[in-house]
């Protein structure tokens, strides 16, 4: 609320640093994330992009040695302030992980879990409707509608990942963080996920971490390049890939290292 920007960003990070014990993994990163945009974080392994992603919904809280400095806001509200309820924050800022991690429960239960613990559905009918809508948005409904009682872990890898996306959007988040969502999938499943990201863009702010530069170029409107914990360059995806300002960005994109 204090440093009011003329156009309100969905999420803003200011001088964010993350430490694991004495080691600094993320160094003074400032970035804005907007609705209706897909923001891609790229960079070589160990550059801090996943760590930074996890600070955006405080998933780093579970790591005892991790310490976050700086300010991150969601709709102008500091998410690290004492008044921020971390459970609600994670419902508003959903997450999809690198390895598909459905619960070892039925497909229905996987999607219904979030709405259930947050009390989003007043009745069974409403819950059914939320599950159906989420699976439809995740592009999985047609494949699983006849076997919602089957275990979520019995699906193929790509289907599992879309199930995880359905699970994340079932609680109506505003931002979805995706940590290399396609890195464990085959090319066809990857294409489906990318297609899905396109479709979801209008509804949510999406942040995706990826190793795959073509993927970043295909799905994102903005790209941030991280290197050794620093945010080297952040801008429109087209500019980053065609005319990077920084030498290091250019070297990475052209495959000189990484």
């Amino acid at each position: 609320m204090n440093d009011a920007t003329p156009t309100q960003h969905k999420m803003s990070a200011r001088d964010v640093s993350v430490f694991y014990g004495d080691k600094q993994a993320v160094k003074n990163v400032s970035i804005d994330i907007d609705m209706d945009k897909v923001t891609a974080f790229i960079g070589p392994s160990g550059c801090g992009k996943s760590t930074f992603l996890r600070t955006l919904n405080r998933m780093n809280d579970t790591i005892a040695s991790a310490r976050v400095e700086g300010q991150i806001t969601l709709d102008g509200e500091d998410i690290y302030s004492a008044s921020m309820d971390v459970v609600q924050l994670r419902a508003r800022v959903g997450m999809v992980f690198q390895k598909p991690n459905p619960f070892p429960k039925s497909i229905y239960e996987n999607v219904a879990y979030g709405p259930r613990i947050h009390g989003l559905a007043a009745s069974k009918t409403e819950l059914d409707w939320i599950v159906e809508r989420s699976l439809k948005r995740a592009g999985l409904w047609e494949e699983v509608k006849d076997r919602l009682g089957d275990s979520g872990t019995a699906l193929s890898g790509g289907q599992q990942q879309r199930l995880c996306i359905a699970r994340a959007i079932a609680v109506d988040p505003e931002v979805i963080l995706m940590d290399e969502p396609a890195s464990a999938l085959d090319p066809i499943a990857t294409a489906k996920i990318e297609e899905l990201i396109h479709e979801l863009r209008g509804r949510y702010a999406i942040v995706i971490v990826t190793h795959n530069m073509q993927q970043a170029a295909r799905v994102s409107q903005r790209t941030a390049f991280f290197h050794l914990g620093n945010l080297v360059e952040y801008g429109e995806t087209d500019n980053i890939f065609t005319a990077p300002r920084e030498e290091r960005t250019k070297d990475y994109i052209t495959g000189r290292y990484g």
């Binding site: 919904n57 005892a64 609680v171």
Partner: protein, 422 residues
């Protein structure tokens, strides 16, 4: 780089004699190792078979008893108990007071001649008493009752005994029909000085009550400790100290826990001596470290991705634990619990110290009644000099093993029920 092996080295000759020898040696090692493993399994199977065969061979006789048909004529002997008295609470007292014990002995002398009272069990009159209570007609007419024979006769009837006992058997066989059958009293009675009258029910019930207390205390406390230590506790010097302490407690000799129980539950808290509640609490202290260790390992084995997934949709820590971690860890926790419970069931030493080795002739009615448990009962019987106790000891071991198998079976059933298919 140029100093390494020349590139034009001769290609490997897989058919060379040295190479063939090496291959043969490798196969031989495989075979030897497999045979060693097989031998170990066979040896342990043989030991197990030996144990079971010995126990069953000795123990089945412990479940049987020899009975003799004793003709008895209550009205003829002037026995004065009226029919109505049998329906009152004082029936046992009335029958005993009217001299039933002596009357039964006299009937034995009459039926089997001189020394007949020595041939039937000291407790035979109790069998007659129960027969009268179930068939009051015996008060008004002459009849017969199958009563247990004395221990020596019982032994002789099955083949091994002194010459006079053999003679007694011969006389009994002539006088009345000797029969050998299942002994229902063994499953109904408690301890006794007479091996034909002893029963296992007192010890079995004592074990059941003790295990119940142990499970009710150790399982929740152990599992909650494991959850706290694994999911909530910060990693620092204190938690390290607690972890080391728990690991050490799991290895402490059980008799030390008996001393602890004696000091805390009996001397300090003034709980009743020899009671299942004290035994259960003492054994709960003993197996709690086992459950905590098994529980922590099971919780640790739950993939972190499941925790991430639940946190990611906004589950609180308690929800993560109770909705996801605990259900997935439950099979492992149950395995640890059953190992602990099996150990508690077989434990004797700590229970001796809190007074559960007392001679107790009635099955416990509740948690605070004096009781004994199966292993202690086995220990006590194995110490008896009377020959009749040998087979009773084996029979008690069979009951203990059956109890153990039933408990393990239940645990395996529960584990399979909760096992998650991935």
């Amino acid at each position: 780089m140029s100093k390494t092996a020349p590139l034009d080295r001769t290609p490997t000759d897989w058919k060379a004699a040295a190479m063939q020898r090496r291959i043969r040696k490798r196969y031989r090692r495989e075979r030897v190792f497999r045979l060693l493993g097989l031998g170990a399994v066979a040896l342990s199977a043989a030991f197990l078979a030996f144990l079971i065969i010995t126990m069953v061979a000795n123990g089945t006789r412990g479940f049987m008893r020899t009975e003799v048909t004793l003709p008895i004529d209550l009205p003829g002997a002037g026995f004065e108990v009226r029919r109505e008295q049998l329906d009152t609470a004082g029936a046992d007292l009335a029958l005993a007071g009217a001299g039933l014990e002596n009357l039964v002995k006299a009937a034995a002398v009459q039926a089997f001649g001189e020394g007949g009272e020595e041939m039937i069990s000291d407790k035979a009159w109790l069998t007659v008493r129960d027969a009268i209570k179930s068939d009051p007609g015996l008060l008004t007419r002459a009849g017969t009752v199958d009563v247990p024979v004395a221990t020596e006769v019982d032994q002789a009837a099955r083949g091994s005994a002194s010459p006079e006992a053999e003679a007694a058997v011969a006389r009994l066989e002539k006088a009345g029909a000797l029969t050998t059958g299942f002994n229902p009293d063994f499953l109904r009675n408690a301890d006794s000085t007479d091996p034909t009258a002893v029963g296992i029910w007192g010890a079995l019930k004592g074990s059941l009550l003790t295990m119940l207390v142990t499970l009710l205390i150790a399982f929740p406390v152990g599992v909650l400790s494991a959850i706290y230590l694994e999911e909530y506790a910060p990693r620092n010097r204190w938690t390290d100290l607690i972890e080391v302490s728990i690991n050490n407690l799991a290895a402490v000799p059980s008799i030390i826990f008996g001393l602890l129980g004696l000091a805390v539950f009996l001397s300090f808290m003034n709980l009743p001596r020899s009671a299942p509640i004290v035994g259960g609490l003492t054994l709960a202290l003993m197996i709690m470290p086992v459950i905590v260790i098994a529980g922590r390992n099971a919780i640790k084995a739950v993939p972190p991705s499941i925790r991430d997934a639940a946190l990611g949709v906004g589950a609180s820590r308690v929800q993560v634990v109770f909705h996801h971690v605990l259900p997935l860890a439950l099979p492992g926790i149950l395995t640890g619990t059953i190992i602990g419970m099996a150990r508690a069931l077989g434990e004797t030493a700590p229970l001796l110290l809190i007074g559960m080795r007392a001679f107790i002739v009635t099955p416990p009615g509740g948690l605070t009644d004096p009781a004994t448990v199966l292993p202690v009962q086995i220990f006590l019987w194995s110490d008896e000099v009377s020959r009749g106790f040998i087979e009773k000891t084996s029979a008690a071991i069979i009951v203990l093993l059956a109890f153990l198998l039933a408990m393990n079976g239940l645990a395996i059933y529960l584990r399979n029920k909760f096992e998650t298919r991935w």
